[in-house]
């Protein structure tokens, strides 16, 4: 058997090993690469920068542990920046396993800026109902979430009484911006379709890399004011707010992983066509 034949019939565990080395190496040696901000990521950044101290945002954290590696860096960076700017946050999730992730992110970022639960941020928890819940939130948050994640009635939380012009916060329009971090359904697409246009609430999104191309039309149409796509988006945002975290660290690993996959595509095709040319059928 020739070398090219042996390569073509390579056991896939060798490929797994190559990928493991390619992804681990940058993390072990702490390799860092400069990150270029895309126009979509810049839009995301600028919309958060426009917020003033005391403004309230609605944070829809729609992902579960499957999306943690990609979206946690994004969520943490967003929370960090919002707390730093003294923006108040009302957060919730439409994913059954999403609440503890939002809770952990709050617990990681709030103490850095001495933020107090109920005054500076609120965690409403999870509600089943997908698009119906989105529309209901546009009409009355209290109808959907009478109590928060801890079972505390919303009326007893000071933040829920500090909306625009001192009004209580009872619908999405009482907040300044909808920030959605999502990995699938229900997520960005549904928020755009059910809430963005219907309630005319500015919206930005951070999503999984695989979903980002689907949301590009919404960015171009202005329905999304900014978009972070996957770990690359997280890294771009971390660079812009000068808070390098797992996004920037992970980009080196992702860079080498992408290059490895490209090399595998090229190598796979080269040996395939070489062997066909030599008249060798696939092993």
């Amino acid at each position: 058997m020739s070398l090219t034949q042996r390569i073509e019939s390579l056991d896939r565990r060798w490929i797994f090993l190559v990928m493991l080395v390619a992804m681990s190496f940058p993390l072990i040696v702490h390799m860092k690469l400069p990150v270029r901000a895309s126009p979509e990521a810049r839009g995301f950044y600028e919309n958060i920068e426009k917020l003033q101290a005391g403004d309230v945002v609605y944070l829809a954290s729609d992902y579960d542990p499957g999306g943690k590696a990609e979206l946690d860096p994004m969520l943490l960076a967003v929370l960090d920046r919002l707390f730093q700017k003294n923006v108040k946050i009302v957060g919730a999730t439409l994913w059954p396993a999403g609440s503890p992730l939002l809770e952990r992110a709050y617990k990681a970022e709030a103490p850095k800026y001495n933020k107090v639960y109920g005054v500076d941020y609120v965690h409403l928890g999870f509600k089943e109902g997908k698009e119906n819940v989105m529309v209901q939130l546009g009409k009355s948050i209290r109808e959907v979430f009478p109590v928060d994640y801890y079972g505390t009635p919303l009326d007893s939380l000071p933040l829920m009484h500090s909306g625009l012009n001192g009004k209580p916060i009872d619908k999405l329009n009482d907040t300044k911006l909808l920030v959605n971090i999502s990995i699938g359904y229900p997520g960005t697409k549904e928020w755009v379709q059910q809430v963005r246009s219907r309630f005319n609430l500015p919206m930005i999104s951070g999503c999984a890399a695989v979903s980002a191309p689907e949301y590009f039309p919404y960015v171009q149409s202005g329905q999304l004011s900014g978009l972070l796509g996957g770990l690359a988006g997280a890294a771009e945002y971390e660079e812009m707010i000068d808070r390098p975290g797992w996004g920037v660290t992970g980009m080196a690993a992702q860079s080498l992983a992408h290059v490895t996959i490209v090399l595998l595509i090229v190598l796979g095709n080269f040996v395939y066509f070489w062997n066909r040319r030599q008249g060798v059928s696939r092993p």
Binding site: R36, P65, A69, N132, Y149, G268
Partner: protein
């Protein structure tokens, strides 16, 4: 008759409520009521879903079907998490028995420091993230073994994929600073045009189906029975 006509009539009425609230402000409270009903029905659907999972897996175990041992694991996991997250807090609230602890573990509730929280963070999170992470290895294997540029379409796909994959990471700019610009062009022009066409097509299909439901013509959602 009741099995077909009543569901069709219900779908029509609910559909018209939803349309009505867009055009007539006086219809909004009724529309809101219907949406609240939908939230309750969806939540009830979750209970039915869980009951179905239990039924299917119990059958699998009782018949000793292939991989029945995994079904036992699933049922135990489901039972433990449901007990800790739902049943115990309700029972606890009913009897007001103070904190329920076994050693350092708080058995009641889902917040920080509870047993539910520990199982979630130390079992479910790593397992779920690992499953998602494994995709990278299978994509690499598939890229090497199956991605062949035998046709013009496949070649175009491969070239676009390679440019975008390299251009979306910082290393691309190091290789050649034109790659990110080329990536942006692919994402903002051909990709966007194709995606928009799909979105518009799907939206038109959705409108047509919606109209058929509103007029009582659409029957596919009833199933084949």
């Amino acid at each position: 008759m009741l099995r077909r006509e009543v569901p069709i009539l219900l779908a029509m009425i609910v559909g018209w409520f939803m349309v009505g609230e867009f055009f007539f402000p006086w219809a909004e409270p009724a529309g809101t009521e219907v949406q609240q009903m939908a939230v309750i029905i969806t939540a009830t659907g979750v209970i039915l879903g869980v009951a179905n999972v239990i039924r299917i897996n119990l059958l699998k175990v009782s018949r000793r079907e292939r991989d029945w041992r995994y079904s036992i694991l699933l049922l135990v996991g489901l039972g433990v998490m449901a007990l800790l997250g739902t049943i115990l807090p309700v029972v606890h609230a009913a009897v007001h028995g103070g904190g329920w602890k076994i050693g350092p573990f708080n058995l009641v509730g889902i917040t920080d420091g509870t047993l539910f929280d520990r199982l979630y963070n130390r079992v479910y999170v790593p397992l779920s993230a690992t499953m998602y992470g494994l995709l990278a290895f299978y994509i690499a294997s598939a890229a090497f073994r199956a991605f062949r540029v035998r046709t013009m379409d496949a070649t175009l796909l491969a070239v676009a994929a390679i440019i975008v994959m390299i251009g979306r990471v910082p290393l691309g700019e190091k290789i050649w600073d034109g790659i990110p610009l080329l990536t942006d062009w692919i994402m903002n022009v051909p990709q966007l045009a194709a995606k928009r066409a799909i979105l518009i097509g799907a939206a038109l299909g959705g409108i047509a189906t919606g109209l058929k439901i509103l007029l009582g013509i659409e029957r596919n959602f009833l199933g084949s029975d």
